[in-house]
Point group: C2
Chain length 320, copies 2
């Protein structure tokens, strides 16, 4: 059975991954998730993007807040605050079970991959959610105020410090996780989808794992991204702010430019349709659609549009 | 300022410790708590008796359930169960903050004593709550069904297995905690109160720490227990069942006999007043009163009665 590989970070990426899981069977999709945001907090191993994808696919995600579990309660945090504990990073009572159970299993010698399989199955998720690597990769943001770990930047400082550069500690020593390697090597990939997650903070860590870029290209499958930038702004999160700070004008052209050499197609919102010619000059085919995902149906529709662009690119290749 | 040392386990002991804290100033009382029940669960360090005493003194304790925090919620446990995690030991959402914060601090190199000072102060508790030792002591119950750690016996098996013997792993290598040592050595102790906790499971671990028995005797202060057995039954918990299994007839005489060589006085309930003569023959003075603690006022009254017995024993000594 031919497979789609989705590369995915948090919220926006998770929504498209959910859409893909609604239109593809469980043996047709592998969702590879960024672990550059992972960190140890209060002695617990927190894997925010893996959890966001898991909560989104299981239907547990809070759609209003955009992260965490719907109907979450905060008794633990309130109690921790009263005890004088660190309370800058919110851990909901339900969410906490993921971190405690994952940490317990890691301490018992299981890998992040094994644990993710078990916990997502327990949540009723059938599609494989695969950490990009079982080895630690840590996203570090170099800012004008000094270096910050990802969560200190993203949550602690609410992305306020001006970014100067980003690096991925540990990436050079990391390998793709076993299941990520297996799907890359299995030979029948119909599309690689880069979900609309932050290119710098959520997708680059995956691409920074040695061998991933080459292996993606070697599949021969079209590589199609969905732009996280619509009308020059990020749908959510600091992508546009980051781009400006790094000297890039936020927009779909900048997204294509960022993935230069890798990308065959880019799904853009209709408001950005004017950029199609410029993108074609960059050898990037476009499909303009409604790229905002408000409902589950939006997610499925955007997933189908993305797969349609990949299919169009496949046909074009075979007819060349 | 002369000091009272209270030796204390969980629920019943915590109530009297609370009573003592209501009638004695913060520099007149040191509450030394059993840590033989402590264990690592889900990677978290849980110290049940220290927590019960802290929740009781801070007013956070659940009076109906008899353990944990009032108004506790269970979202974490429900979520953990859904993930297939271990759910035989209940950890409430609020309670969890204690375990996470304690575990974090232990990993950072702080001692159980230091942590207990900080956390109980954060909870607004002024009287010192002191773990018996900073070294690990683990109560193991040898039963007909094999050996069980304390929590497996107490919570996991609800005390059902028939006990044959009890031992305290690690006790021989443990030292009294620094503050326990300091108060033992400070020279002006007016009374040592053994709270109405399980003699075998909650008080014996404290007495098993090398040097404690001798140091208690060396203070010269009267040693006064409050019987956890009333009318031949335990007010709460497995004390009477344990006594029967170990070949002892549950009752105030058995309590005095258990503390033989250590005890100067025993506070008993009025229903056990008939045993006063037998206890006097054992060189144990009694005070018969209402030993049931239903309200805060009961706790204060029983604390005052206990201190009155200690004072009577002190006067008798000085007039001899």
């Amino acid at each position: 059975m031919s497979q789609v590989i989705a590369l995915c970070g948090g919220v926006g990426g998770a929504k498209l991954a959910h859409g893909l899981s609604r239109v593809l069977a469980e043996d047709q999709l592998t969702i590879v998730v960024n672990t550059g945001d992972d960190f140890e907090h209060l002695g617990l191993y927190v894997s925010p993007d893996v959890d966001t994808v898991a909560y989104t696919l299981s239907g547990l995600a809070d759609r209003e807040r955009g992260w965490g579990v719907a109907g979450e309660t905060w008794q633990f945090m309130a109690s921790l605050s009263r005890l004088g504990g660190e309370d800058w990073f919110l851990l909901g009572d339900q969410d906490l079970a993921m971190h405690v159970e994952r940490t317990r299993r890691l301490a018992a010698g299981q890998t992040l991959s094994q644990i993710t399989v078990d916990l997502t199955r327990a949540m009723g998720i059938k599609h494989p959610i695969v950490p990009m690597s079982d080895e630690p990769v840590r996203t570090i943001i170099k800012t004008r105020d000094g270096e910050l770990t990802f969560q200190r930047y993203f949550v602690g400082e609410r992305c306020r410090p001006v970014a100067k550069a980003i690096r991925f500690d540990g990436a050079q020593a990391a390998r793709p996780s076993p299941r990520f390697r297996a799907v890359l090597e299995q030979g029948d990939i119909s599309a690689i989808v880069i979900c609309p997650s932050n290119p710098y903070l959520s997708v680059d860590p995956i691409l920074a794992v040695p061998g991933v870029r080459k292996a993606l290209e070697a599949t021969g499958a079209p590589i199609v991204a969905v732009s996280p930038i619509i009308g020059g702004e990020a749908v959510k999160g600091p992508a546009a702010k980051l781009m400006r700070e790094l000297g890039v004008t936020p927009g779909v052209v900048a997204v294509a430019d960022h993935y230069e050499g890798l990308l065959d197609g880019l799904v853009i919102d209709a408001v950005d349709a004017h950029a199609a010619d410029r993108l074609r000059e960059m050898d990037v085919e476009t499909l303009a659609t409604n790229a905002i995902m408000s409902s589950d149906d939006d997610r499925s529709r955007l997933a189908r549009d993305t797969l349609a662009l990949a299919e169009r690119l496949t046909r074009r290749r075979t007819t060349c």
